[in-house]
């Protein structure tokens, strides 16, 4: 058996350990027979057998060297695992959580901007009411004022984008949290140490109930399908 090859010490160590076990068995048997006071000729026979076994195992003297090599390789591997753990921790907390915090910030800023737009529209509608009171009997002005009011009300309705995008952002935030939890469990498996947050969790604006599938797509078609299904299901339910 060679112990000086370039292969991992682990395979050498395993082979040698099996051989060592085979050598220790006759030693153990000899000790047992000495303990029970076996006849001298029996013990002599055991000794001869042991000498033969040892003679077939010339590489046993290499065992300490192989153990040291194996220890060195295990130490190197642990260093690599530690680096991997740190890399994953970095991804978990400095990227996922920062990404989550940025989403939260976008949700917050969008909500604030939407509220400001609503306040502006409310003020504008108030001004339109004042204007309508000034020119109550002017047909052209009244028509224009009504059109302007309708436009602003429609514009107000378009601000529903904020609710839908907030739900979409919350859905992505939930996905990031799920990935973070899974990565944490992987990191913890490396050495059993719990991973603690390196940056703030930044979940503020992305909590609460939401529909991650919220979308602007095909609203008319989906509403028509819902109306049809609602009528059909309702009719069935009322039977």
């Amino acid at each position: 058996m060679s112990v000086s090859g370039d292969g991992p010490a682990g395979s050498d160590l395993r082979t040698l350990a099996i051989e060592f076990q085979g050598t220790m068995d006759p030693v153990d048997q000899l000790v047992s027979e000495v303990n029970i006071g076996a006849e001298a000729h029996t013990l002599r026979g055991r000794l001869v057998e042991l000498a033969r076994v040892l003679g077939r195992r010339p590489d046993l003297t290499a065992l300490p060297g192989i153990v040291l090599r194996a220890y060195s390789e295990v130490t190197d591997a642990l260093g690599g695992i530690q680096q991997g753990r740190e890399a994953i921790r970095h991804v978990t907390f400095e990227r996922l959580q920062k990404g989550h915090a940025k989403l939260s910030q976008v949700a917050h800023v969008t909500e604030s901007a939407t509220l400001e737009l609503m306040n502006g529209i409310d003020r504008s509608l108030g001004l339109i009411d004042q204007l309508a009171a000034v020119v109550p009997d002017h047909p052209t002005a009244a028509t224009a004022i009504d059109s302007l009011r309708d436009e602003l009300n429609e514009f107000f309705g378009h601000l529903q984008f904020q609710d839908i995008t907030a739900q979409q952002l919350a859905g992505v935030g939930g996905l990031l949290e799920d990935i973070e939890t899974r990565v944490q469990s992987v990191v913890t498996r490396f050495d059993g140490r719990a991973v603690t947050a390196a940056v703030g969790d930044g979940k503020g604006q992305l909590t609460g109930a939401y529909n991650a599938d919220a979308t602007f797509d095909r609203i008319s078609a989906r509403q028509a399908a819902i109306d049809a299904a609602f009528t059909r299901t309702g009719a069935q339910a009322s039977r």
């Binding site: 609503m118 009300n153 529903q160 609710d163 109930a209 599938d213 919220a214 602007f216």
Partner: protein, 121 residues
């Protein structure tokens, strides 16, 4: 007609209230979730407009609770939500939802649906 608007989003409540105002419905009370809505929903409320996804008690839970109470069992409930899969519609009908509108909606759609469900009720 007194209307109860239920949504956890303050912006969404304002949008619904503004849409109601634009179609002449100004008697409106608001609630931030199903649980608050149950407290606000006295017999004078003639229409409930609710979101589905809300904390504490969601819209579906609210409808079930309203239907279980003799005083509100017949009150029309309009669900305004982003949810549109078939299972959701079935659940909504079975819970006792009267009408269903997808977000985003227009004031005209809201008006039409309110006319439809209050006429039936």
């Amino acid at each position: 007609m007194k209307c109860l608007v239920v949504d956890d989003s303050a912006t969404m409540r304002r949008i619904v209230v503004n849409a109601l105002k634009s179609i002449g419905m100004t008697d409106v009370v608001e609630a931030g979730d199903g649980s608050q809505a149950l407290q606000a929903c006295d017999p004078s409320v003639e229409l409930v407009i609710t979101d589905w996804n809300m904390p504490v008690m969601d819209g579906l839970g609210l409808v079930k609770a309203l239907r279980a109470n003799a005083a509100t069992a017949k009150t029309p409930v309009l669900m305004v939500t982003t949810r549109s899969v078939q299972e959701d519609i079935i659940q909504a009908v079975e819970a006792g939802v009267t009408g269903y509108i997808l977000k985003p909606f227009t004031p005209q759609i809201l008006k039409d649906k309110i006319s439809q469900i209050t006429a039936v009720a």
